[in-house]
Every structure is written in C-alpha cells, then in structure tokens.
Symmetry: D2
Subunit: 361 residues, 4 copies
C-alpha cells in the first residue's frame, strides 16, 4: 500500500527508475487461458515509444518487453504476469546538472522533502518513463476485456486539444488518429498543430494538451458504488499519469453550466428492448455504474516542465539559482499520454469486469 | 473491497439508504488520544443539513450524530469510531412514482442493471443522503490533522460557479462564505445567484455548479507516488461525491492552454530557508507529493436530475414513458456539496499524513 | 487497514466495546437478492449467547441483532449490510478493580503500551464480546454459500478437547453437539467434561480447549495462491479469535511425524469421473486451493485468563501487586468459540467463493 | 488482490515459476535511506539455496539476486525494490512424467481444477522455489527492523522436530544451528537426525518437521487488533509456506491442556520500571499486540510429497494410475523452510513496525 500498485482484482505493481537497469510490472489477477505473447504487448508499447518523430523525446529506447512469468504455451495461467523492459539508452551525462537543483514543475523538490534522498538521473522514479510499464499492463487488460462474453469492447484515445487549439468535432475521424504524430482525430487540426508545436519547440518552450479516451461496448452494470465508482476509478487512474492536472467524465466541467432540463440524458427503448439514451452527458456512468453507453473521459496535461528557457529555482543547499533543462524532452508530453490513457482505461475496465463477475448473480 | 470504504490507513466505511432506519459509518485508523465528542462532529453536519433555506431540499432531518464506539472519556482510543445517524423524515409516499420508472440522470437504471434489485425509496443507497456519513468522518479526520505537529492546517471550501455564473476572484472573501446560503466567497455574486436560482427553482429546473476546496498549511512531503498520488487520491475522493463529473488540481484544465514558460512555478528561498514558490499552477502537488503550498481542488457538479419538468424515460418493464420527479430536491445540489468536499479533503489528508508517518525516517 | 476488517471481497468491519452502547459490523460485498432477515441471523447469535448455562459467563445479553441497511423487502440489495447489537447488561461496577491493574493473559498491558489509553470496562475492545459481531457476519456469509450453484455446503463445529481430555473419535456423532453445553460430539466425553469443568469452576480456575470446524461440500478450486491460500486465510481467521494460540489444517502438527508414504492422500476416480481421495491428511486444501474434500480446521484456545485465584501482576503506575479477576467469566472460553469458529469458516469460504467467481473462465 | 502479495505497508509481490526464465519480487513500502546491496540479500538466499548437501534437492541454482530498482548509491530511495533471480538449472526433462498425472499431496489437481491450465514443469508456480523470492524480501525487511530506534531486534529459526524426533530443549544452543545441515539447535539430535534421514532418503521416503522461529527485542505495542493481530499475521504468513499444515504461538496447542492458573504469565516490575513477565506462554503476543517478550512461532511441515515410492493417483483424463516422483527432491522439506520462516517473521514484523509508526502518538 505504498502507492506503486493499481487495481483491486486486476492489479499491477510497477517498479523501476528512468536510468536504472530496468522497468516493468507484475500483473496479478489475470484470469487463466487468455492468449498472450510479447508481440501483442509490444504493439502497444510501440505506440508510446520515444524517438519516433521530432515532436517527442529523442531518447532511443526500443522498449522491448519480455514476459518472465504467468504465461505457459501461449496462454495465461492465472499466476502473476511479470513484464520486464530493460533500459538501454540511459545517457546519464545529460542529467548531471539537475543533481542539486530543483526543476520547477518537476517532483525534484517534493521527492527530497518526502524521502530525503532521490535518484536524480532522468527524474528517477517520477519520470514519465514509468508509463511504459502501464502500457504493458494495459495490453494484458485488453486481453481480459476481449474475454467478456458478447461485448466487443473497444478503447480508443485521441488528443483533442494542444495548447489553446482544440479539434473541430465535426471533423472527427478515428482513422485519422494513426496518420499523424499527435494522435489527432481532426486532420486539419493536426496540420496546424504541427506548425504550432514546431515554433514552440524551436523557441525552447512547451505546451499543454487535452486527451480524450472512449470505451465502447462496455455493458451496463460495471462499477462499484460508493467509493469505487467507475468514474472515480477513472479519475484516479488518469490523475496518476505524469503531468495530468484535471479529469472529466462526459460533459464534465461543462455540466456545471447546464440546467437539469438540458443535462438529462432521456431514455427510450431500443430495438433489443434495452434502454437507449438520447444523449450522453453522463459519459456512460450513472451512480458510478456503467450505463452501456460510451464511457468518455478527458484529461488535461500541463506543459512539459523541462524547457530550454531559464527559470528561477533553488538548489538543495538552500541557494537561489536558475535552471535550463537540457536533454531530450517532449515539447508536448500530452502526445505520448494518449496510449497511456488508453491503457489506464483498459485496466480500470478489466478490474471493474472482474469485480462485477464476483458479485453478479 | 466492494466499494463502500475510503482510505488506506485512515479508512471509513459507510452504510445506509435514504429511507432505511439509519445511515452512518465506521472510521478505522483513528490515532488514539484525540479529543472527540458528538458536538464537534455535529457542527460539520449542521453545515450540510437539509431544510435550512429555500435553496436546498425541504426534507427535515436533524442529522443528529451518535458516537457508538471508539471514544472513552472524551478521547479516541485507537479502536473504530462508529458514527450513527438515524433517519427521521423518510416520508416514503413521495417516492412511490419512481418505483418502476428510471429517472434520467439518476442511478435507477444502473443499479437495476447491476444488482437486479433496488431500494427505490428516495434513491436508496445512491441518494446524496449518504454524504452525511462522510461529513461525519471528515470531522474525525480534522481531529487527526489538528494533531500534526506545528502544521496549523485549515480546510475551506466555497462555491465558485453556479451555472454559467462565476465568482469574481477579486472579490474573494473567505468570511463571506458563511454569510450566504451558497457558500459563496463573493458577496455580489451571491446576490445574483439568489435571483438566478429562484427563477430556476420556480420553473421546475435546476443547475450545475463548481466547488473549490483549499487546504492550507499542509507540509511538503505528503502523498504516495505513483498510484496513490495526493492529487489522484483527491480526484478519486471528489469524484465519489454524487453528481460530480470533473475534478481539477491547481490550474487544472487551464494548464492545457499554457506554455511551459507560463506554467512553471518558479522557486525562491523563503525567510525560513525553505523553498517558496512564485505561483501555484501545480495546486500544491508535484509528482503526487505536497509542495507545502495551498492544495487547491475544484470539482464540477451536474445539475440536480430530479426536476419538475417532464423528461422522457423508460420503466423497468421495457415501456417508454415520461417522468416528473416530485418531492423535496435541491435546485442546485452543488451547494450542499461544499461541506462534503471539505470533508473529503480532510479524509484524504488525514490518510496521507498517517501514511507519511509510517514511511518517514 | 487499521485491523478491524476481515475479508477481501466479502468483507466485514466490526466496531464496539464490551461496555459501550453497542457493538456490530458493516458487511460489504454481499451479493444481491439473497434472502436475509433478523431471525436468520439471530439463530446463530443465540448459539453463542452468554448466560445460557453455568459453564459460560452469567452476563445477561439478549444479543438482539438489528439490520440497519442493505436489505429491502427481505432481500439483500448488494449494498452494505449493517448489523447492530445494543449492549444491555454492562454492569460496569464489576470491573472497577481492573482500571489500573494489568490482568495477566489479557490485553490490558499491551493496549496501554500501544495506544496510551484503554477502555478498561470489561476489556473494552479486546473483550470476546466482539465475537458476537462476527457470528452475525458469519450468518450473512452462510447465505452467500447457500447461493453456490449445486454445492450444498455445510459448516459444523465441535469442541474436541477440554484441557487434557479429548473426544473419542469412534464416538463422534454430529447430532450430539446440540445436546450438551459443550458442543461436544462425543456424549460420553461430554458427561466427563461436565464434572471436570464443575471442579475447575468451583476452585476458581479455568481450562483450555481445542475446537474443530469442518466444511463439507466445498467444490475444488477455491483459494488464491500464494499468499491468500485458503489454509492461510483460515489460519489467520481462527487466530483472530480471542485466546486462540494455534491452528492446524487436516493432519496438522501430526503431519510432522508422518512419512511421505503415510501422508500421501492417494487418488482414485469417483463414480462421477472426478478424483476422489483415499484419505484427507491435507484437510481439504492442496497448494492453498480446495480439493473438494472436507475442509478441516482445528484451533487451540488457552484457558480463560480471568480467574478467581490471585496472580502476580503490576499496575500502570509501575507498582507490583496481585489481582483476582472477579466478575462473570467463562471457565472454558473454548465453549463459546465453537459458533465463532463456524462463523469464521463461513466468511473465509464466502470470500473465497466470490474471488473464485471473479477469476473463473 | 489475487493472492501474490503479502503485507500492508511493507508489502511484496512475487512472481515466477519453477522452470520459467526467472523468479523474484517487488518490495513496496521500503522506507528511504536504508543501506541495501545485493551481497546483504545474497547471504540469506545462500542459507536456503538448494544443492548444498545430500539432505536437500540436488538442483544446482546459484540463486543470484539482482536489485533492479529502488536503490541509489547504496541506499533505498523509498521507491519499489525489485529483486530478480534468474532460473539457471531448469532441466525440464525430469518432469515430463507429471505432465498428465496428478501427484498426491501436490497442487497439481487443484491448480487444474481452479485454472483449467497449469505449468507442470517442476510444479510451476506452486513449487517451493517461490520461497527464494520471500527470503530476498525478508532480507529487506531485516533492514527495516535494523532501523527501529534502540530495539536491537534479532530473528532466529531452528528445526525442532524431524518426524517423531524432537530436540531436547536442555541442549538448545543457537550457535549449533549453523553447524549442521538441519538448522538444529541440539547437536546430539542433529547426529541422530542425520542417520534417520539417510535411511528415509535411501528407501525413497520422506518425513515431516517442525520449525521454530523466535524474534527477540521487539518492543511492546506492535500489532493491529482485531483482524490484523500480530499472531494472526504470523499464522497467515507461516501457513503460506509450502507444505505447512499447522502454526502455533507460544504454548500453542499445549495451552489447551493448561489451567488458567498454570497459563498465566505473571508480571513483575523490571529494573527499568517496565513490566517483566515470569513466563511466556503467550509467545510474546497478548490481544494481538506484542508484549516486549520473545515472539515465538512454530509451524509443522508435512513430509515431502515427491517420493520414489509408487502412490495411487489419477491423470487429468480421468484414468486411474500410479506415480513415482523422480527428480531432485528434499527428503525433508522442513530443512529449507527454516530461512523461509525467518524471512516471513521479518516481513510480518517490518509491516507491524510501519503500521505502529503510522498510528503512534
């Protein structure tokens, strides 16, 4: 309970620092006889991998996952699945300057305040590198969701805002997401973002973003009220991603501006006799339990704190100074957060599924 | 782990339905020798109590708390503190109409989908009445926070937006909060809100809101990375409150629009030699750990779903119908969420404090 | 996580002190649509109730249970079941003498060492009175087990040893258990025990016991290796009962004396094609998972520490003294532990069942 | 919560199968700034290592531990400590025969019943090989215990019974434990055991054992009543070790035969003003909380189920057959359980320490 695990029944524990020998996770609570191999997991890691274009960090990490346990002859056995990723491109020399100075917006000062020691190499444990582990765990979660009888659950993420520039929802095309370096579902927006981000990057600056993740096909009835509501679990999950500062479900903050008449998701009877909804302000969750509609989560990511522009700071000896964070950084860390958000959606849903199975009669 | 408990070391479990005989909670993990009596807890319950003015439900509930265990001669003993509140004004006849119809925006349909049974009286377990239990638990958490050596932690909440109408932060005065029925820190806004809400109420409508909760005096170093980050725990906590659809920390969604240069909370050395920050976009949390600055959380509440205007819906037999929710409802459920948000902040911090004590060297 | 809860999915939290206003528990993780009423639970409480004969404490407690939540129209709803028992016969004057002296064998000194405060009235939280709450929770667990498709699970307990006097297993008759005040399955032994215990009681002494609990009809496949093995959960469960100092499964400590040839539970194919075992040294659990055989647990209970014979002790001011524990005590606390052991078996199995349901494919 | 983790605040999760590529664990909840290196951990693994003499399995495993995270410049950082052990001597051919047959006394049948799949190579996950991971975690726990101010805690284990042959406590000498292959504290007994075990081994048989673990120097006040009592945690811990069938604390099952007069651990005032006890029937725990005396746990281990003598069994196709378990097995698996029992004592105490720190005032 020291904070490095996530989930109740489908539960993973991550380990590893940015510049240690390896990162990875142990996934416990994986039902038996699910097909699983390294190739399946690798495909998701590759989406998040650094070094793929000029808009993300140039660190060269193959992020090659190895399954060390829990799979036998291509199937899960019900025992813990251990996923192991060696760090290959640590290049520690890049980070020598941050040994003593606290980078604004980073966890440098708070880790020191909490632990009295910190692995400063590349941000150590607080580096976004940790998110590779959860993308791997998320792939396992997807296998669990594939096993839900008759559900056909899909989980898709997209970046919907870069800095002040939002996508035009009229242009939304899920197939566009794979065609640009921003996971942007609006082709025109993606072009404008490219120019915008180029400018920021060259000026030694960075920018925030908003990511949206949508799960379709989730049956009604998942989620555990009161304190493990599905939307609460999702909010917790997304807020654990590095640099996330806000989460909303469905209409989210916009719901605050609506009246009860506007916000009501009215219901009709669908062709199969089940209720259908005429709108989805609720984002697929009512009373913490899934409605059967799309589950829609958005989260806000602050701009990358590592920038080439000097900022005022202090060092751990109590001296005032300033810092420029050199190295290989994402000018918009929100980009690589898209596959991470998808992964967290998958693990939350896999956990909710197992919990619902336990209680169902 | 069926969802009715919150917290790791400071942990409470609630029980009870809107129209059952009683509600309450068991608070476990309360350190010994803290002063505690019913009067102290009652003061917080009275802030949330229904029936106090025309802007909240007219249900008449004294919400009188009784301590059934864990306190001896005025002090906590380290054993579970059981807090018990009898339901007095159930008036079940009001709710007969919702026995078979699903109210849009409520958990009626999802509880049926999940459990195949539901206590429809007043929303049963999914009623906001449950939040009285957490306000009581929050009072105990405040006692824990009072025991933090040399901290002087204060927790204060305010409503900062009603429908489209935001407070003017230039007018912010914490002392105004207690002077109007909206917990509004801007006296002028409070007056405008009164007119606005009167109109909505009379027209059988309702409206959403945004609440802000601020904790001051929290030392640096609280919070457990990676998956129990302080901001993740806060997001989870607030998202468990009925009708909440979004949570943000510090700059929150606005951070998505900022550049790295703008967003950096630069640091200087304070008079006591500790770091001070020149801004607080981070909302008092970096890397999931408190910075020592104010911890600032905001959450969005959707409009009350129970309205007097007919809405389309279905019943549990699969028939299309419409519904008008009569009864005694809050036209803006965000109002009474203010003390609930404060309580959740208190329990999250009490838990973080105990966890930090366990790991500190 | 402060120690007052038991179970993972089927999970209860108890509260209350011996001489406080009430005791009880919140049972979370109860599947919906199980029949439940106070009468069903009361029957189990009545088996454990004090004051029923001269061999148990003369405290007069009706132990009348009230269901305060989680049941609607006679069925569980999937929400927390709150069970409430008022204390009626506190008679605190009996216990004034132990306010400052530590009773040997009791938790008086350790509670003071841990908490720096203690509710000394009747042993406060450490009193065996707490076990009434778990007997109530155990009744709910039995309802869960009744819902296992096609299983027909029965849980029965018996006292198999009083002091040095063991039952003769050749005389074992489950129907005898209800016919004597000792839950003894051997009618002849029960008669001898009556004389033996009378003598001890009159001389101001007490004695230990061994209790055996057997669950029949549990399907193969329940239990979660490695650290939540079914036998580990049972050992933990029984060791939480007041005064228990040892637990064994199947052959238990006798297995240490066996050779591998003797200890092997050989297998044959049963009439239904499933494996059957030729013996049950394993006590129904292999590798932490149920085999389908009877699950057999025994636990040792130390003699009641409250005796009328003076014992040397100290007081909380650091003075040497001696103490005689007057009051109303069980001369053999093992007797009333039988229904408690049954209850703990039921809750462990209910939890194992729900966990197995979650993971099953 | 799928069973592969142990502990609440000091918490480890193990992974790996007997013949997979690796085993190991992630230890979370390790306080910062404790000295830790591979050599320190290796020393404990070496005590448990196979292949060291003719009385244990001849599998040749160096069990070389690698620290993959959580340590920086020789000190723990407060982040998860990942301990990794590669399997080197799998020799799978030895185990081909057990692919389809269920070995009596093993988890073969129950894993199949539970999961519908099983890694049969060397027992897979249910192999005692898993215990290497906990010995490694136990070494980290020892570092935590070393940091307890002024305590001087020592943890020592010994084998006290092999088959029917017990040690003579009059001969007890802790220094003898390291001098014989049985961890036996009685030099004369060790010699007799050598002959006895040689005979059993040569006849293709095996035998059970009893192990005792003693922790000295634990302060009064550790342990969390009611359901996380220190003795309950210890019972759970020991019962998770492969082949353990019974656990007792202090006088244990012998307490059942005592009277209250005999069993009372009378108290006097010690030279430092603290209570001292005139005996330790309680085994150092009262009401689930440590008394400050030695904490004494014993556990019974059944004879190794893998024997060279044919036993009746069935196969997974429902045929009756018999089996001889060839391969490299411990004739008395209790021997190598001694360092494992010590490790489990260490992790239980480390967890209890952190929990007590959290609640202390």
């Amino acid at each position: 309970m020291a904070g490095n695990s996530f989930g109740t029944l489908f539960r993973f524990t991550t380990f590893g620092e940015s510049h240690g020998p390896a990162i990875g996770c142990v996934v416990d609570g994986v039902p038996p006889r699910l097909p699983l191999d390294e190739g399946f997991i690798q495909a998701f890691l590759d989406k998040r991998k650094p070094g793929q274009n000029k808009y993300v960090t140039q660190r060269q990490e193959p992020d090659r996952v190895q399954i060390k346990s829990g799979v036998f002859e291509g199937l899960t056995t019900g025992t813990p699945v251990m996923l192991f990723i060696e760090n290959e491109d640590q290049r520690s020399k890049d980070y020598g300057d941050i040994k003593d100075k606290y980078r604004p917006g980073h966890a440098d000062y708070t880790y020191d305040a909490k632990y009295g020691i910190r692995d400063y190499r590349g941000g150590g444990r607080s580096s976004a590198r940790e998110t590779a582990s959860r993308v791997a765990a998320g792939a396992v979660a997807r296998r669990v969701l594939e096993s839900v009888p008759g559900a056909g659950i899909t989980i898709r993420g997209a970046m919907v805002q870069m800095g002040p520039h939002k996508v035009d929802r009229a242009n939304w095309d899920w197939s566009a997401v794979a065609e640009n370096p921003f996971f942007c579902p609006d082709r025109q927006a993606a072009e404008r973002w490219a120019d915008y981000l180029d400018g920021l990057r060259k000026s030694g600056n960075s920018v925030g973003a908003v990511v949206e993740v949508v799960a379709s096909g989730v049956p009604a009835g998942w989620g555990e009220p009161i304190y493990d509501k599905l939307d609460s679990e999702l909010a917790a999950a997304m807020m654990t991603i590095n640099a996330v500062k806000g989460v909303e479900i469905g209409a989210g903050f916009a719901a605050a501006e609506l009246t009860g008449i506007e916000n009501a998701d009215e219901m009709r009877v669908g062709p199969d006799g089940k209720p259908v909804f005429l709108s989805n302000h609720a984002g697929g969750v009512l009373g913490g339990i899934s409605t059967g509609q799309d589950i829609v989560v958005r989260f806000a990511i602050k701009p990358t704190s590592s920038i080439l522009t000097p900022r005022l700071t202090v060092d751990r000896f109590g001296n005032e100074t300033e810092i420029v964070t050199k190295g290989r950084h994402d000018p918009c860390v929100g980009i690589r957060a898209v596959p991470v958000g998808e992964a967290m959606m998958a693990v939350v849903l896999a956990d909710a599924y197992l919990r619902q199975k336990a209680m169902a009669r």
